[in-house]
Amino acid sequence: MPNVRFLLTGDTSLSAEFGNEISEEINAQIRAFTIALEKSGIPGIVELVPTYRACMIHYDPGVISYRALTKRLEGLLGQLGSIEIPPSDVLEIPVLYGGEMGPDMAFVAEHAGISEQEVVAIHTSTEYLIYMLGFTPGFTYLGGMSDKLETPRLKQPRVKIPAGSVGIAGKQTGVYPIDSPGGWQLIGRTPVKMYDPDRETPILPKAGQYIKFRAIDRAEYDEIAAQAEKGAYVCRTYPRGEAAK
């Protein structure tokens, strides 16, 4: 049973804290706990917000008090070993690398001392863990990028980065889900809408899943973009450990 602290975050929520570091192991425990909690049928739970090393649990004190809830959660933690947790899904995100879609590709390649093709090969070879989402709707905090691609942020942030842009900032990589200002080095763009408020599933990625990028050419980009515009494009997902075809 993991060593978990319940922290008060007001009178309608609490934080179950699983540790004090960013690690895949802690994040996996949080994912397992979140899945178990969703299945548990504990009454009064309103919303769960998993983050790097904690899961915030919003609840209705009119249904369950803090004391009663923490007691149930302790019981749940005790059973965690016996609850079957399915493997994480991998979400495949198609990306057109370089050119006008990735204006900083040349800089990133030069900084790493490798070719642009090698940047693409390295960037698409990893399954990146989605530790959490935050900052803006659909923004993922990913872990696992190769040290070789580590690049400092732009000295002067751009005023507007188009939605779908894929970037690198320090040790991090990610996708801008909405048009926003930002200082990330842009290496490509996905035609997929990571966030669409009018879609049945407004946000594609979920904490605890993995993202794998797949390089596409301009023709495929345009085709996917057209489908995405109609809401007809569905990203490939597969259980982790099952090789991508």
């Binding site: 934080s15 919303e47 917000v49 989402l133 659909g138 923004f139």
Partner: protein, 337 residues
Amino acid sequence: MSVTVLNPGLLTTVQDAGRVGYQQFGVSVSGVMDPRAMRIANILVGNDENEAVLECTMLGPQLRFDKAEVIAITGGDLGATLDGQSVATYAAFSVREGQTLRFTGLRTGCRAYIAFAGGLDVPLVMGSRSTYMKAKIGGVAGRKLEKDDVIGFRKPAAEILNLVQRRIAPEVTARTEYAVRVVMGPQDDLFTPAGIDTFLGETYTVTNEFDRMGCRMEGPVIEHKNGGDIISDGIAFGAIQVPTAGKPIIMLADRQTTGGYTKIATVITADFRIIGQLKGGDKVRFARVSIEEAQEALLTEREALTALRTMAGSAYAKERRPVVRPGRKEAAEKKGD
């Protein structure tokens, strides 16, 4: 079936109880800053208590009614007038077609709420009508109201059952110093004992940097053990974030879903009515309560609102003042439901 915005005021947005269930995807909750004021306004006009309302900030809007409607205004007193005649807050009243509601100036609090019987006709986005300006969703086109906006009513009511009974004493007073109750945590253990004493013993003043995201305060530095940075985690409404500089920020409706600064304490739900009405220059002292006391206060507040709903639509009022005949009563109920 609508209201036309002649002047939007400083910051007027459509808000309800917020967008629940999407924080794990990075979507801010948004919603009203003073939930109690919203609930009372809705109860007074016979709505579900979480129906969308207009939240008006400091300088209220000017609205022309193109259809008769029953409304109620609660929260801070922004000096509401109807065709130049001042109107009571915390009371439901009828507005006739063609009349203009305007606000003459801030008297108490910071934000007023206007509830419309039957609700406003703006689309639900992810289960809520709340405006979330950063992501440009909800409310009217995801933004604050602008001149010439037209907002429809879903089921307007020219009259309403027991109108005279739908009135209570205004709740936001002209105070500028407040005691705000908090439960300590989640990161109170990352402050020194002296830092905790400072936080609970000193007075903090609201700076002019206060908006729907947060309320920045000035006052004695709250001492950390090892700085104010943490690995990012979730943020609740009312969380009091203290970055390394040691000055508290109360996180509010449009707060980010996650953040990387220590949070020393969280304002209790029963006192959201205070922090939702704070403005620059107001002074606050924080008082620690237990989680049991906080939850007790929350349940007491809910009971009070249930009692208010019962009173607003009570048979008692009908017996005493039978203004509604059986036939009309049915019609009124249909409109109001």
